[in-house]
C-alpha cells in the first residue's frame, strides 16, 4: 500500500512537526504520506522544500487539514497522492 497515514490532530506543538519530519524521511520509493492535522502546518513546508519533498494541501473531510507528501522524482507516489488529493477541496486561506 503506497499510502502512509499520520494523524497528529490530537498532538500539541511541536510534536506534529517532528512526527512529520520523522515519517517523511522513512518514505520508501512509491510511498507517500497523508498527514492529517487540525490546522495547516505552516512550519513544515520549508523543511519539505529544502529536503526534496513535494506537498499538496487540502481541506479534509474528517480533519481540518490534510497534506499529501511525496519525494521529489517519485512519479508513482506523486500520481497516487495527487489522485487521492484531488478528491478533496484545495486549501484556501479564505
Amino acid at each position: 500500500m503506497p499510502e502512509r497515514v499520520l494523524d497528529v490532530s490530537e498532538l500539541e506543538a511541536p510534536e506534529p512537526l517532528l512526527r512529520a519530519i520523522e515519517t517523511v524521511q522513512t518514505l520508501e520509493p512509491g510511498e507517500f504520506l497523508r498527514f492529517c492535522h487540525r490546522m495547516k502546518p505552516c512550519h513544515l513546508y520549508r523543511f519539505l522544500d529544502e529536503n526534496g519533498f513535494h506537498a499538496d494541501t487540502r481541506h479534509g473531510n474528517d480533519y481540518e487539514c490534510e497534506v499529501f507528501i511525496w519525494r521529489d522524482g517519485d512519479e508513482v507516489a506523486a500520481g497516487e497522492a495527487q489522485e487521492l488529493a484531488a478528491e478533496l477541496r484545495a486549501w484556501s486561506e479564505g
Binding site: S9, E10, L11, E12, A13, P14, L17, L18, I21, E22, Q25, R38, M39, C42, H43, R46, F47, E50, N51, E64, E93, G94
Partner: protein, 427 residues
C-alpha cells in the same frame, strides 16, 4: 532522529527574544511592590502618580517588553524572512526600551517632568525603529495569514498610541494632562488597538497549536482585527463628529465575541489533558468578559471603583494572564529548539535533549498559576470590599511575579547547563 533539518533560518538567536522575556517579570514584581507599600492615597483614583507608574509598569514594562521580544521571534517565522539586521536591532532596542521604560515610570511615580520626557523620547525612538523594521517585514510578506494581518494592525495601533503619548508629554512640558481627551485616545489605542489585537492575532496561531483546539472560525480570523481597528477610528473621531453609532459598545462586543469564542474552542479541545497555559488563558478570557461587563454595568452599583476595576480586569486579569500563560509555551519551545539544533549540529554529543515539559516543570508553573489566581482574586476583593486590604493581593502578586521570573530563568539555567555539558563532552 535528526532534526537539524528543522530549519532555524528564520528563527532569531535565543539571545534576541530571551532578554525581553526574562526582564518582563521584574516590572510586574516592582508593580506589585509599589502596591504593597503604597499608602491609602495610592488608590484614590487612576490619576495618582503611583497609579500612573503602576499602570505603565504593567503596560510598558511587562506587556510591552514581552510583546516586543515575542514579535521579534514570531514575525520572521511567520513571514518566512528574518527581520533586517535582527541581531543588531534586538541588542540596540533592548537597552533603549528598558532605559526608556524605567525613566518614564520613575518620572511618573515621582512626578518629575524631565524624567517623563526623557523616558518618553527613548521609548518613542525604540518604538519607531521597531515599527519600521517589523512593518517593513510584514509589508513585504505575501502571507495572507490572519495572524500577520493582525500584527500589522497592532503595530500601526502601537504607533498611534506612542504618537499620542509623545504629543501629550511634549505639549504639556512633561506635566501629563490627565483628563485630556487625547489621554482617553492613548488608552483606547494602547489597550484595544495594540494589546487586544496583537493577543487575538497571536491566539489564532497558538491556541490551536498548543491547546489542541480546532481553529478559530475563518470569519472571525478574517474580520475581527480589521473591524476592531476600524471601530477604534470611528470611536476616535466621535469628538469631531456627532456619534452616529455607539462605537464603544461595538468595541466591547468585539472583545466579548473573541473571549467567548476562545472559551468555546477550549471546551471543544480534542484531548482533555491538564495544562497550565490553558488555565491561564481561561482566566484571561473570563477576565476580559468581566472587564467589559464592569465597564458596561458597573456604574449601577455604588461603591465600586469602576475605572480601577476595569483596568485591573483588563490588564492583569486578561493581558497579563494570557502573556504569562504563553510564556510557558514560547520559552520552553525556544529552549528545546535551540538546544536540539545546537547539539545535533555538533553531532557527537550523546546526551538527551529535554522535552518541552521538562524545560519548565508543570508543577512549578502550576504553583505560579495558583499564586496568580489568588492574587487577582484578592486584588479585586481589595478594590470592592473595604475590609479586605489591597496589600494581601499585592503580596501574592509579588510572589507570583517572582515565581514566574524564577521559572523562566530556570529554563535558561537548564539551557546553559546542557550546553556546557555538551561542550565538555566534545572537548
Amino acid at each position: 532522529m535528526n532534526y537539524t533539518a528543522l530549519s532555524l533560518n528564520q528563527t532569531p538567536p535565543l539571545s534576541v527574544p530571551l532578554p525581553y522575556f526574562l526582564a518582563a517579570p521584574l516590572f510586574a514584581a516592582v508593580a506589585a511592590m509599589g502596591l504593597l507599600f503604597a499608602g491609602p492615597e495610592f488608590l484614590a483614583s487612576r490619576w495618582t502618580p503611583g497609579m500612573l507608574a503602576l499602570t505603565h509598569l504593567l503596560t510598558v514594562g511587562f506587556l510591552g517588553t514581552t510583546m516586543l521580544g515575542a514579535m521579534q521571534q514570531l514575525v520572521p517565522v511567520l513571514v518566512g524572512v528574518p527581520l533586517p539586521s535582527q541581531r543588531a536591532v534586538a541588542y540596540l532596542l533592548f537597552p533603549l526600551w528598558i532605559a526608556g521604560a524605567c525613566l518614564l515610570i520613575l518620572g511618573m511615580g515621582r512626578a518629575t517632568p524631565v524624567m517623563v520626557q526623557s523616558g518618553g523620547a527613548l521609548l518613542a525612538l525604540a518604538v519607531g525603529v521597531f515599527v519600521l523594521l517589523v512593518g517593513y517585514s510584514l509589508w513585504r510578506s505575501s502571507s495572507r495569514h490572519a495572524t500577520v494581518r493582525s500584527m500589522a494592525l497592532a503595530i500601526a495601533a502601537l504607533a498611534v498610541t506612542v504618537s499620542l503619548a509623545l504629543y501629550l508629554i511634549l505639549s504639556f512640558s512633561g506635566q501629563l494632562p490627565l483628563a485630556h481627551p487625547l489621554t482617553g485616545l492613548h488608552i483606547g489605542w494602547g489597550s484595544i488597538g495594540w494589546v487586544f489585537i496583537l493577543l487575538a492575532g497571536v491566539a489564532y496561531q497558538v491556541v490551536p497549536m498548543f491547546q489542541i483546539t480546532p481553529e478559530y472560525p475563518l470569519t472571525l480570523r478574517k474580520w475581527l482585527a480589521p473591524a476592531v481597528w476600524g471601530i477604534l477610528v470611528l470611536w476616535s473621531l466621535q469628538g469631531f463628529f456627532a456619534p452616529l453609532i455607539h462605537s464603544a459598545w461595538l468595541l466591547a462586543a468585539g472583545l466579548v465575541v473573541f473571549a467567548l469564542q476562545t472559551l468555546r474552542l477550549q471546551a471543544r479541545r480534542r484531548r482533555k489533558l491538564a495544562d497550565v497555559t490553558l488555565d491561564f488563558w481561561r482566566l484571561a478570557m473570563v477576565s476580559l468578559t468581566l472587564s467589559v461587563l464592569v465597564w458596561a454595568f458597573g456604574q449601577r452599583f455604588s461603591g465600586i471603583p469602576v475605572e480601577l476595576l476595569v483596568g485591573l480586569l483588563f490588564f492583569v486579569g486578561f493581558a497579563l494572564s494570557a502573556v504569562n500563560g504563553m510564556l510557558y509555551k514560547i520559552v520552553p519551545f525556544l529552549i528545546w529548539l535551540h538546544l536540539n539544533n545546537r547539539l545535533q549540529q555538533a553531532g557527537q554529543w550523546q546526551g538527551k535533549v529535554p522535552n518541552m515539559k521538562q524545560v519548565v516543570p508543570e508543577r512549578h508553573a502550576r504553583w505560579q498559576f495558583r499564586l496568580h489566581v489568588s492574587a487577582q482574586f484578592l486584588l479585586i476583593a481589595g478594590l470592592v470590599i473595604p475590609v479586605v486590604p489591597i496589600q494581601a493581593g499585592a503580596a501574592l502578586w509579588l510572589l507570583s511575579s517572582l515565581a514566574l521570573g524564577w521559572n523562566l530563568t530556570g529554563a535558561l539555567r537548564l539551557y546553559l547547563r546542557i550546553a556546557k555539558e555538551s561542550r565538555q563532552a566534545m572537548a
